[in-house]
């Protein structure tokens, strides 16, 4: 892992040096992306936290989720992936971004998993996730899910706010780190802003226009235990992994 101070010296980004690690490394869950771990302090997302990643379709939100899950599997954490997509699609995607599928998480999905996910039944989704986590309560738990946006579309905001508040709170009590994806453009901005309030960390992945060029950039809007991170970060996904570096514009 690159030393934080050296990186700061090279990039000239004062905030990287200004933040003191306020968390001990044993209470962190690696993101699976070393450069992002460095950016977030030392070793990743805070334990017992809920992270929301907002971004345009196809930009690489899922890749971040796959690396998060893979990192957990390597560390021996219990990993659960709750998705509205078929398992075969997710596995194909994982291979596409260079994530090995030798070890896979437990699935709750629309097809290809023992526990089926039905977007029209939000209660059963919550119940199944909580039950799976409860059965593994002696282990560290990582939950990744892409059902936030669909559920927000299919249900009233008020009920979803309560639903997610309750679900995230229950999962955090079980020593879980939750990683949720939200589609930009699928939900109105005010809906996403409302939902962001119940998450401990919010990461934004968007395409930005700079003159004639278009660049995919990454922004940490908030993260539990860290002072606000200003600025944008360039990210790239390849078959060898994901890389996040400060973006100078």
């Amino acid at each position: 892992m690159r030393p934080l101070g050296a990186w700061n010296f090279i990039s000239g980004y004062p905030y990287l040096c200004a933040k003191d690690p306020v968390r001990s490394s044993d209470s962190l869950a690696s993101t699976g992306v070393p450069s992002l771990d460095s950016l977030l302090g030392s070793d990743g997302y805070p334990d017992r936290s809920a992270i929301l990643v907002v971004g345009a379709p196809g930009i690489g939100k899922e890749a971040l989720g796959y690396w998060f899950v893979r990192s957990g599997l390597i560390q021996g954490d219990y990993c659960l992936y709750a998705t509205h997509r078929p398992v075969s699609d997710v596995l194909r995607d994982m291979k596409g971004v260079g994530v090995s599928t030798e070890r896979v998480p437990e699935w709750i999905s629309s097809s290809g998993s023992p526990i089926r996910l039905d977007l029209r039944d939000a209660t059963s989704i919550s119940f199944n996730i909580k039950q799976a986590v409860h059965q593994n309560r002696n282990r560290r738990v990582r939950v990744a899910t892409d059902v936030l946006s669909p559920l927000l579309v299919l249900n009233p905001l008020e009920s979803m706010y309560n639903y997610w508040s309750q679900l995230l709170s229950d999962l955090k009590q079980q020593d879980a780190v939750i990683f949720a994806l939200a589609e930009d453009g699928m939900n109105p901005p005010n809906v996403l802003t409302t939902m962001e309030q119940i998450f401990d960390g919010v990461i934004e992945m968007r395409l930005y226009e700079e003159g004639l060029s278009i660049t995919p950039l990454f922004r940490v809007r908030k993260m539990l235990g860290l002072p606000p991170l200003h600025g944008y970060f360039r990210f790239s996904v390849s078959s060898t992994g994901m890389e996040v570096v400060p973006h100078v514009h």
């Binding site: 004062p14 905030y15 345009a56 379709p57 196809g58 930009i59 690489g60 899922e62 890749a63 509205h84 997509r85 078929p86 699609d89 995607d93 596409g96 971004v97 629309s110 977007l119 669909p150 579309v153 299919l154 589609e183 930009d184 453009g185 699928m186 968007r206 395409l207 930005y208 226009e209 700079e210 004639l212 060029s213 278009i214 660049t215 995919p216 950039l217 200003h230 600025g231 944008y232 996904v237 514009h249």
Partner: protein
């Protein structure tokens, strides 16, 4: 209006079309490079391919000798015109796949995942047959199958596109498809206009044709801009 002015406007309209087409190519490639997911990336690259075909088609409008260029015994203009079918089909196909991907319930709209496997050989076969076989020597049945197949495939794909779009909740995709719908309409009007005024061209009909020639790629450019939501970097105070 003198014939010279109309002729100049005609050449200019093709030139402007080429410039817009190049912008479409550039945007398509830029957005495609920035995206991670294969389905979304393919769509962006097919927009670029469509832009490239339009660019080649527009070239003879202001570079006369391009009209005489022959590749493997076939005029470049003819290749570009027929490639438009393939590029259009591939672009529509990639857009439908995106719409299916964005549908929360991942419904296989009009069995598109199966139909596309038949659609590609049909459209490709039709183009190759037209390009390299003199029409009178074609095996009649093969030609009929290919022509009917292509004619059926295109409206079928349009129907799948519309249904797929109705099932998605993504506002950017909806906007993209609306603009794409306008591109179709403008090309259709342009085709009707060109056909009806072919024997009796007037300066007014020529000008209308030139306007439509520019409008269609412009709308395609706008559609290329809505391939993915694009933000602007905010100035922040550290």
């Amino acid at each position: 209006m003198s014939i010279d002015v109309v002729s100049l406007i005609d050449s200019l309209s093709w030139l402007v079309t080429s410039i817009i087409a190049i912008l479409v190519v550039y945007r398509g490639i830029e957005i495609g490079r920035a995206l991670v997911s294969g389905v979304y990336r393919n769509r962006a690259f097919w927009v670029a391919a469509l832009g490239l075909v339009i660019f080649i088609q527009a070239l003879p409008g202001y570079v006369p000798f391009v009209g005489d260029v022959v590749i493997v015994g076939v005029p470049l203009f003819e290749i570009a015109f027929l490639s438009l079918f393939l590029a259009f089909f591939a672009f529509v196909d990639s857009t439908i796949l995106v719409a299916l991907e964005m549908d929360f319930f991942h419904r296989n709209t009009l069995h598109w995942r199966q139909i596309r496997i038949v659609g590609y050989p049909l459209v490709f076969g039709f183009i190759i047959t037209i390009l390299f076989s003199p029409p009178l020597t074609l095996p009649g049945l093969l030609m009929v199958i290919l022509a009917v197949g292509t004619i059926v495939t295109i409206p079928y794909s349009a129907a799948a596109l519309i249904i797929g779009a109705r099932r998605t909740w993504d506002r950017t995709l909806k906007r993209h498809l609306t603009l794409l719908g306008f591109v179709f309409v403008v090309y259709l009007v342009s085709f009707v206009e060109a056909t009806t005024s072919f024997n009796n061209p007037t300066p007014a009909s020529d000008l209308l044709g030139d306007f439509l020639v520019v409008l269609a790629p412009y709308l395609l450019y706008r559609a290329a801009m809505t391939l993915s939501p694009i933000s602007r970097i905010e100035k922040e105070t550290a």
